[in-house]
């Protein structure tokens, strides 16, 4: 049974809006009731403008907004792009999306709405741009979905996450960050949120692609032609539409494929768990950690405290060219968040953002972490002698998982604290 359903059934006062209106009159005539709106990706547009040494014209920007609205609707009334020959079916389901969209409320049947605005919007923002009211203060910053890239997943770096990957993040949260676990929600509520996140990602990616498109346009040219053109020169009119559909398809395609791309992991050979085998494995893992093939030490540091490479940035931040103060200031003025360095994980804390299961760590090492400097290790192949075998990776996993229990990692060694035991 859901809180929302109860709320709707027992709602004591239904004339809420009447009351609100009354209060409004009482206090301020000035401000009306605003609709939640998708925010344009101003930062990316500005970046494109700087790169292309050009400026988007009003109609061009307006086109972008209208096209997005046409494909994806509004926060309160979302829809999915209808593109000939493009089947979104399993990827995003409109009903599930609708369950998360809109204001926090529930209809007569007790069906909740606005799950996203109830649970996510404070940090990830209405647009999924990671710019909610609370975002600026969080460390790390909340994810900006609009690149369609997610860090902790079972697919190779650069590919989209699987549905399962996203669901797992909602279910377990991201340890060591402000991303909480939504375990306590009903399963279909979590499902709905996953679909909504995908919906926002697709929208954000299309928006970026549109910006890329606009940059290439010559002066005065536009993404779409005026409806009046439809009859005058249909082919160029339809040509433009076709191009837009093509963009949407290009954005959706990798998402559709992703679910099949989860990297399979062979079960470990039996007996790996018995002590001396494990000890051996850990020792071997240690060698690899410091060796030049896996080369973990370069970034995670000589003592695995994550202090090897402390002045790099993740891809979301790199878009702001943190090194270039003049352009950076322009991005910040448009609402981008103050750049922060990305730190390699301190492996001694025993906090694993992407999950602590051996397979999670295996994926991190074998696939790399998308959007971050963490690369994939090279696998041994006929033409690449200097690669790792799955067993090597397991050794590294074992070593990494043993680190928090080394004496060096023990809390009381790192941070002596007065802990008082009670009778």
């Amino acid at each position: 049974m859901r809180a929302e359903s109860i709320r709707s059934r027992l709602s004591f006062w239904t004339g809420r809006d009447a009351l609100a209106a009354g209060l409004l009159l009482a206090f301020a005539a000035g401000c009306g009731a605003p609709e939640a709106e998708f925010r344009g990706n101003l930062v990316y547009v500005k970046r494109k403008e700087i790169e292309g040494q050009t400026e988007f014209t009003k109609p061009q920007s307006a086109d972008m907004a209208n096209i997005l609205a046409a494909y994806f609707g509004t926060p309160d009334d979302p829809h999915l792009p209808k593109v000939p020959g493009l089947e979104l079916g399993p990827l995003v389901d409109l009903d599930r999306v609708k369950m998360s969209a809109g204001k926090v409320a529930s209809d007569k049947t007790g069906q909740p709405h606005g799950l996203y605005r109830e649970h996510c919007v404070h940090c990830h923002g209405v647009t999924g741009d990671g710019l909610g009211p609370t975002a600026a203060f969080l460390n790390p910053y909340p994810r900006d979905y609009r690149m369609g890239r997610f860090k902790f997943k079972s697919t190779v770096k650069g590919q989209r996450p699987t549905h399962e990957d996203l669901r797992k993040i909602l279910h377990d949260g991201v340890a060591g960050t402000a991303m909480p676990s939504f375990k306590v929600l009903d399963n279909d509520e979590v499902e709905s949120l996953v679909h909504y996140v995908k919906y926002l990602s697709l929208r954000g990616e299309v928006e970026r692609r549109l910006a890329d498109e606009v940059v290439e346009l010559s002066e005065g040219e536009r993404l779409v032609l005026d409806v009046s053109e439809k009859d005058k020169n249909p082919e160029s009119f339809n040509g433009k539409i076709a191009r837009l559909n093509e963009i949407v398809t290009e954005v959706v395609q990798p998402w559709l494929e992703a679910d099949g791309l989860a990297v399979p992991i062979e079960e470990r050979t039996a007996g790996w768990e018995d002590p001396e085998a494990k000890a051996k494995s850990i020792a071997r893992g240690r060698e690899l950690f410091y060796g030049s093939i896996a080369n973990c030490v370069k970034c995670h540091g000589d003592s695995a405290l994550g202090d090897g490479q402390i002045n790099d940035y993740d891809d979301w931040t790199k878009e702001l060219d943190p090194a270039k103060p003049d352009t950076l200031s322009q991005y910040l003025a448009l609402g981008a968040l103050e750049p922060r360095n990305i730190r390699p994980r301190n492996l001694r804390l025993g906090i694993y953002r992407g999950g602590r299961r051996p397979i999670d760590l295996y994926w991190r090492i074998a696939n790399g972490i998308d959007g971050t400097p963490m690369p994939a290790v090279p696998m041994k192949t006929p033409e690449n002698e200097k690669g790792l075998t799955p067993d090597d990776i397991w050794n590294i996993v074992d070593y990494v998982r043993s680190l928090p229990y080394e004496s060096l990692s023990k809390q009381d060694r790192q941070q002596p604290q007065i802990t008082r035991e009670r009778l």
Binding site: A26, F27, C31, A33, P34, E35, K103, H122, P133, T177
Partner: protein, 601 residues
Amino acid sequence: MTSVPAGALGHAEKHAGGIELGKFIRTYVFSLDHKIIGLQFLFSTLLWFLVGGLLALGIRWQLAWPWSDMPVIGRMLFSGEGGQIAPEFYTTLFTMHATVMIFFVIIPILAGAFGNYLIPLMIGADDMAFPTLNMLSYWFMWPAFFCIGSSFFMPGNGAGSGWTSYPPLSVVQDAAPSSGLSQTMWLLGVTFVGVSSMMGSVNYMTTIIQMRAPGMTMFRLPLTIWAMFITAILQAFALPVLTAAGFMQVTDRLINTGFFLPEGLVVNNSAAASGGGQPLLWQHLFWFYSHPAVYIMILPAMGMVSDIMACFARKPIFGYKPMVYSISGIAGLGFIVWGHHMFVSGMQPLLGMAFMVSTMMIALPSAVKVFNWLGTIWGGRLTFNTPMLFALSFVSMFVIGGLSGIFMAATPVDIFIHDTYYIVAHFHYVLFGGTAMAVFGAIYFWFPKMFGRMMNDSLGKVHFFLTFVFLNGTFYLMHVLGAVGFPRRLADPYDYKIFEHLQPVNQFITVCAIGMVASQAIFAFNFFHSMFFGERAGRNPWKANSLEWMAPSPPGHGNFDFQPIIYRGPYEYGSPEVATDYYPQTQPPPPGVKSKSPGGH
């Protein structure tokens, strides 16, 4: 001419000489006259009372309809989210509501406004002992107003770690959006309030001890003055602790002194700059002040209520000395009960037992007072005018607030109801049902003295009725919420299965709260209207005994146009010695009558 407040008139006459700016400023702005300063306090606090009330509505709105668009403020600050507030803003709402109500309304309106106005008048002095200090105590409120007001416009839209400002949340700047500059401003603000009250209390003590009119023995003082006196002592001894603690927290934040931070603390993935301290230390220091502060917030109200009751029961106060003793008893015990705010804080449980006993004991004097008030109206001739109704409601509400306190005092029970709405109900019954109602009563009662005009009694009764009804509608059911374990300070409690069905009650409460705030409009109108157009009041419209009523209304500079000499206590109503049913303190006994009234040496 009628548009000049009578108060101003009566006053301006004293220094005739036309409208001259410098004089005006000296007279009404940086005035040394305790009455003007009292009125300045009164007006400032009433203004903040409105602010605090609106903040409360914000809280209630969120609790009734979480995440729906909040009228006005939500729409101003969160238009991008469609007026849906951010959770940290909710923490700001309740933090600022409490801060404003406690530090800017209740404490200053009791000590600052009424203390200032009444003490010299009731003891027969022409002014405070240290007029300049007195003026400063008001003007030191302004930096406080500024600091705390401005914190609304800083990152996080205002301090958000609760009025109790518990570290580490309040000390570690990365712990919350509002733990940055706005928290620092908040702390500075509280420190200024402390300085202001400190100046006031020193002044009150000196004045009451040193400047009583001839014949005004300690036991001829009205209970109001006794209460103010004890309150002043409480403040003088408790406040420095808070001020010091507040300052320690400021240094913790600004120069990493680490008084309140444990070693190796990491919040929001950034390590605290210092360590080696203990968060509980703050709670001890804070409550060492803030528990006595609870009595600072109620004792003067009790005093004023006693005076109003005796006057409209036309009967001596029942058990004058027991009243005085219980006030003192409350003050004394008030210093050794702070731990009952910390039963589940991680404080050594053995201490819990000790504090439980002392806390149980402090309920005693309060009980005694209640019985005495009942004794006072027993066998009297009650006039039900607005001040009296408010005074009576004080008793009725204070009983509820007092009794619910016993639950919290019982440690095992407190385990369950600590930090639930049970406690919210408790202190709102004491502070709103109690103090605020008493303050309303006092305003209606002394308004004629302040402005020389009466407030409209019928409007007053309407105001009383609505406030009384909505007040109970708002706070009573909070006991029930508390019994379910409904916690305070949750922006959206309905995610918890155990609380999800409590929303309708909360909606009911919210509607009542809105009604309560709305009905104060009647009071505001009555207040300002009567100030200019109310019917003129003579020196003693209520036929009261105490000294202030012997002075002109409003009293001019120097208060009395005669040298008051006191012959008896202030509660000689219906004394057989005279024909009238009242017997002013200054009226010499009729020839041949040997006065047997109490307090006579």
